[in-house]
């Protein structure tokens, strides 16, 4: 696999519009100009997964569109966030521009099926690497390590300090996610309320229908940052959730390629830049030490 790269400038895609009469107009303005450099003259071995994708001229990426910081659709409907940036990095290294990425919403319960059914080439959607999933798909990465945490109403009226305190309370999470599975198996005393997306959980917590929302801390931090008057993070992570990029089972060449891209981005700072522009900007945190990819 030989990759030659020349710099290629990319025009800003952010749309700045003047004269808004409502606050929401401002969201379109922060579409940052953070497109990674697109590699040119890339060559892949014929028959490889990458060659097929480049041939198709389209990288199909499954992501979330309702998770601030990682994958949230802006008002124009385009997803933005750290996961989205990871996908852009991969695309750029393949010589594909941002326009050649097709994002599809993959809710938690749809991620494996989408890969198995060849609806997407890769999934970057706060996707925890675990053995059960590895039986049906493969993972590149991790590119981030999160931990399961709990979000409660501001002021923490129930005094929830950790998962043990969840017994007897209603806890919201998402069907098909590892946090839901953890609660189901390890803390069965808690009454689990399951939706298809976390934003409905956030709504329910805001309205007082549930007493807690549990999932990975980074997802929760972003919800808290979005509405600090309603939410509060317990800040006591009790699991390790390494986020990987899901690829189709057996696409080992693509997995290795993504691992190379990630490792390079860890070293040359693009990974940290992506963090600063997305999740980092929202939660006001520095980029952590990058993890080490697991080349199994």
């Amino acid at each position: 696999m030989r990759i030659t790269r020349y710099a290629a400038a990319l025009a800003a895609t952010g749309v700045v519009l003047a004269g808004c009469s409502s606050d929401a107009g401002e969201t379109t303005e922060d579409a940052a100009d953070n497109a990674p450099e697109v590699a040119t003259e890339v060559e892949f071995e014929p028959g490889s997964t990458m060659a097929e994708i480049v041939e198709a001229g389209e990288l199909r990426v499954g992501t979330k569109i309702d998770q601030p910081g990682f994958g949230l659709a802006n008002t124009a409907g385009e997803p933005e966030g750290f996961d989205v940036e990871m996908a852009k990095l991969v695309a750029a290294e393949m010589g594909l521009s941002e326009d050649q990425i097709t994002f599809t919403e993959t809710v938690s319960a749809n991620r494996e099926p989408f890969l198995q059914e060849d609806r997407v080439d890769m999934v970057a959607a706060t996707y925890t690497i675990n053995d059960a999933r590895k039986e049906v798909i493969d993972f590149a990465g991790p590119y981030y390590v999160a931990g399961q945490d709990i979000m409660v109403a501001a002021g923490n009226p129930e005094g929830i300090e950790g998962p043990e305190d969840l017994a007897g309370t209603t806890v919201c999470s998402v069907e098909g996610s590892t946090p839901a599975e953890t609660i189901r198996t390890e803390y069965p005393e808690a009454e689990l309320v399951l939706y298809d997306v976390y934003s409905k959980c956030a709504d329910d917590l805001r309205n007082g229908n549930v007493q807690a929302v549990t999932t990975d801390n980074v997802i929760l931090t972003s919800f808290v940052a979005g509405d600090p008057e309603s939410f509060e993070l317990v800040g006591n992570p009790f699991t390790e959730e390494p986020y990987g990029i899901g690829v189709q089972k057996g696409a080992d060449d693509f997995r290795e390629f993504i691992n190379d891209v990630l490792t390079e981005s860890f070293e040359d700072g693009t990974w940290a830049d992506a963090w600063d522009q997305t999740a980092g900007a929202i939660t006001d945190t520095e980029a952590p030490e990058p993890p080490t990819v697991d080349r199994y």
């Binding site: 969201t27 099926p113 956030a202």
Partner: protein
């Protein structure tokens, strides 16, 4: 009983006064309820014009997104409507076949798809079909689900229509020496379709509404788009525009569907005037549709006589 005024006396002066009082009290009660709701909304700041402006302010992208989403909704509904109508007519004819080897499988298909929730059908098309080699897009899965479900319902509507045609029609046609397929295509189906048009259109309204189930497969129709906008705006502003966006989505559905229903009523009033269908069918909606198609059936519409207040005719 086409005129419900049989049920009560033509009111005399005193009764009319009493009724006017009743109307007034009823109206007052409704106004109080509406007032209460508005007051709560107002005190929660939901009525601020700025919050509603977002729906019309192109710089926020919201109106464009809603419009595009409406387009997606109409697109999938249109595909479903055409396919379901065609297949439904075919199945109806099959169900009335004289040959058991045609009738039995057709009846099985109709009964099966009428008995399974649409949501499950859509999931089946989306999740299971790929395992047997048929990969559908979200659009495809939704369109196929809508088609399968509604073709079964429409088949029953068409069958009721065909069976409601006076037997003299087919007897006369046979008497003239037409074959069975000719009687079907030239005599029965055209009359049945005309007669069942209102029920048919009512079912199409149901189909359009059901396209909102596309959220389950991530198809960006009107409702999923509104929800996505809520998610985005919630994050930036808290729940500032949530209520407004739900109201907008609901209103758009209502407007589009009322327009479709009006079309149904228009078609119905025309076909009622037409001498070709004077034998007004009673309760045709009855034999049909265990879908939600209890729409403005011919029987229901008989009440829409002249001068009924509160009823748009």
């Amino acid at each position: 009983m086409s005129d419900s005024r049989v049920l009560f006396d033509l009111p005399g002066p005193r009764a009319r006064r009493r009724q006017r009082l009743g109307s007034l009290l009823g109206a007052l009660l409704v106004l109080v309820l509406i007032g209460l709701a508005l007051w709560r909304l107002g005190s929660n700041g939901q009525l601020e014009p700025e919050r509603w402006a977002i729906l019309f302010d192109p710089s926020t992208n919201v109106p464009q997104r809603l419009l595009e989403a409406l387009g997606n909704t109409l697109e999938v509904a249109a595909v479903g409507m055409v396919a379901a109508t065609a297949l439904g007519a075919l199945l109806a004819v099959g169900r009335l076949s004289d040959h058991a080897w045609v009738r039995v499988p057709v009846v099985t298909v109709i009964e099966f798809f009428r008995a399974v929730p649409l949501l499950v059908l859509i999931l089946f098309c989306f999740l299971f079909l790929p395992q047997v080699g048929v990969t559908l897009s979200a659009f495809g899965a939704l369109a196929l689900g809508l088609t399968l479900y509604n073709m079964a319902v429409l088949a029953e509507i068409f069958r009721a229509g065909i069976q409601s045609i006076d037997r003299g029609q087919s007897e006369a046609a046979y008497g003239l020496g037409l074959r069975k397929w000719q009687v079907m295509t030239f005599i029965l189906v055209p009359q049945a379709v005309r007669r069942m048009l209102p029920v048919l259109i009512a079912q199409l309204v149901v189909l359009l509404k059901d396209s909102s189930l596309g959220f389950i497969v991530g198809y960006m129709e009107l409702l999923r788009t509104s929800r996505s906008l809520v998610e985005t705006l919630n994050f930036s502003f808290g729940p500032r525009y949530t209520f407004q966006l739900y109201v907008a989505a609901g209103l758009i559905y209502i407007i589009v569907n009322v327009l479709l229903s009006q079309l149904a009523k228009f078609v119905e009033s025309r076909s009622r005037r037409s001498p070709k269908t004077t034998a007004a069918p009673t309760d045709l909606a009855t034999g049909a549709a265990p879908g939600t198609a209890t729409g403005p059936g011919p029987a229901g519409a008989a009440l829409l006589g002249p001068g009924r207040p509160g009823e748009e005719s």
